[in-house]
Amino acid sequence: MTVSSSTKLRRPDGRSSGGSLRPLAAEVSCLSRADGSAKFSSGSTQVLAAVYGPAAPRIPSRERANEAVVAVVFKFGTKSAATADNTTSMHPGYGANERELERFVGDSLMACIKIDDYPRNVIEVVIQVIKSDGSLIATALNAATLALLDAGIQMKSLPIATTCLVPTNGIDGGYRFDPTSEEEVSEDYSVLVVSTDSVEEGVISSITFGAFQLDSFLACAEGARKASKAVIAFMRIAIEQKITREAKTLWSS
């Protein structure tokens, strides 16, 4: 799963290329009460996402006449609660609070879900961080996407997020995709999170932490599209396995 070739380097977790992603793992339909759920891991970063809906909104004023509202709830793990200096990469959200991350995930999901098919409904997506070891925000969005697939919500395309580590002073190359938290903490690098979809070109949402050059961002967005193909292929396998499993246990003749 190599995205782009870069000079020989040894990353803290043993990967030898800036373009390689960590191994993905997923457990689909792990929550029995949710309409859709997925526990998604990228390396040792693990996020649990649950989807409830489409359902009637609890507050009538929340609904939109012509389309669905996607409400996201983002919860960090226990370690995050109160960090005095909340701007270092030690903070799980890199300084961004849960509201900002909810917006990032919500926007990407709303761009890809067929919201016109569910007018006056709310689709609630709950994200719980289980373990954070780098590329947290991207893993969270990917977990949400997989949970939506499990819930059977109609989607136009799949939003996938990719994290890229770029050098602050813009030296060519040196980009690292899917960084671990050890790599993210470095002062000389900035973290860019970009969400793309499986169908069209272009960036749906982006959130960045640290300074960078425009060229780095554009290269990262290009790489994100390529990386997303690998993630989607993985999700396809995960869903196929779930359907095969369900066919055996639920609909055995």
Binding site: D85, G95, N97, E100, A111, V203, Q213, E222
Partner: protein
């Protein structure tokens, strides 16, 4: 004629705006790439705050004020102070906020997804705060009073006085200009009842108000010049510095924050460091559009250099 125009605007705001954008203009006659008149006034609240500013972008008005506290620095960073930024909305700024500063969900208000993202106070506060702090525009060591024992905690507070769109830019410009206006008062360490405390060295012992205690105070040094630009996407067109009306109809928004001190010309093209690039909303932004937005942001930084720097 005037009445029917207003009725059209109220019934079908999207089509109303489309009529302008299709003719390469906007309701306030601006070009798509033009920003509104931007003004920054500093030292507007000298009675109770150590640094303050009033930023106006068109009709959007934001007041920023800085108050100071003394705290004990963290053992990991014994000579670093702290900066905290809060933003406040109220019914004063417009009808869409209630007294608790939260967005009011109205049956009649149409707000796009992107506009909702830019209306959420907590999300905006997080964005503004982390942009200011992670930009490292101020070396926090300047806030040290006594290593390991006392350091300044700067509290930057932004209030929207009138909301006509693009408060994000106003918040960032307000915070930057207030910090530039800030004078840290002269202090000394003193022992009172066996405890070490930090005391103001005021010019007049009886009146310890900011404006009196700033004599001999110190201004901060800035490593970077943080300048933002917000652009809305409407029907495939980019509207720079959207008004409230335009913001509520844009299907996507992007805010690019750049470092005005890092600008340089590369092959005749203005370039520099980007401190934050946040795209929200439901549209897909092509790489060309992102590059164009960054270009516009660099241009904005060049333009505002004159009014931000004293």
């Amino acid at each position: 004629m005037e009445d029917s125009l207003e009725i059209f605007r109220a019934i079908d705001p999207e089509d109303y705006l489309k009529k302008f954008t299709n003719a390469n203009t906007r309701p306030d006659s601006r070009a798509h790439h033009a920003t509104r008149q931007t003004n920054v006034q500093t030292s507007i609240l000298t009675q109770n705050s150590y640094g303050s500013s009033l930023v106006t972008i068109g009709n959007t008005k934001v007041i920023t004020a800085i108050t100071l506290q003394v705290g004990t620095p963290s053992p990991l960073t014994p000579s670093h102070g702290e900066i905290d930024v809060t933003v406040n909305f109220s019914p004063l700024c417009g009808g869409q906020y209630n007294t608790a500063g939260r967005v009011v969900h109205d049956d009649y208000e149409h707000r796009s997804v992107a506009a909702n993202a830019y209306a959420d106070p907590q999300s905006l506060q997080s964005f503004v705060k982390r942009t200011i702090i992670s930009s490292n525009m101020i070396d926090l060591k300047q806030l040290c009073i006594f290593e390991g024992k006392a350091a300044w905690k700067i509290e930057v507070s932004c209030i929207v006085v009138n909301h006509d769109g693009n408060v994000v830019d106003a918040f960032l410009l307000g915070a930057v200009s207030a910090l530039m206006d800030l004078t840290l008062p002269q202090v000394k360490m003193n022992k009172v009842d066996g405890q070490e405390i930090v005391e103001l060295v005021a010019s007049d012992e009886d009146v310890l108000k900011p404006k009196n205690s700033m004599v001999g105070g110190k201004k901060l040094d800035f490593q970077k010049l943080v300048v933002p630009l917000t652009i809305g996407f409407f029907g495939g067109k980019m509207l720079v510095d959207p008004t409230l009306e335009e913001e509520s109809l844009c299907e996507g928004m992007i805010t690019v924050v750049v470092d005005g001190n890092s600008l340089s010309k590369d092959d005749g093209v203005l370039t520099g460091d980007i401190l934050n690039l946040s795209k929200s909303g439901m549209n897909k932004c092509s790489l060309e559009e992102i590059a164009a937005c960054s270009q516009l942001a660099f241009g904005r930084a060049k333009e505002l250099e004159a009014i931000l720097k004293p």
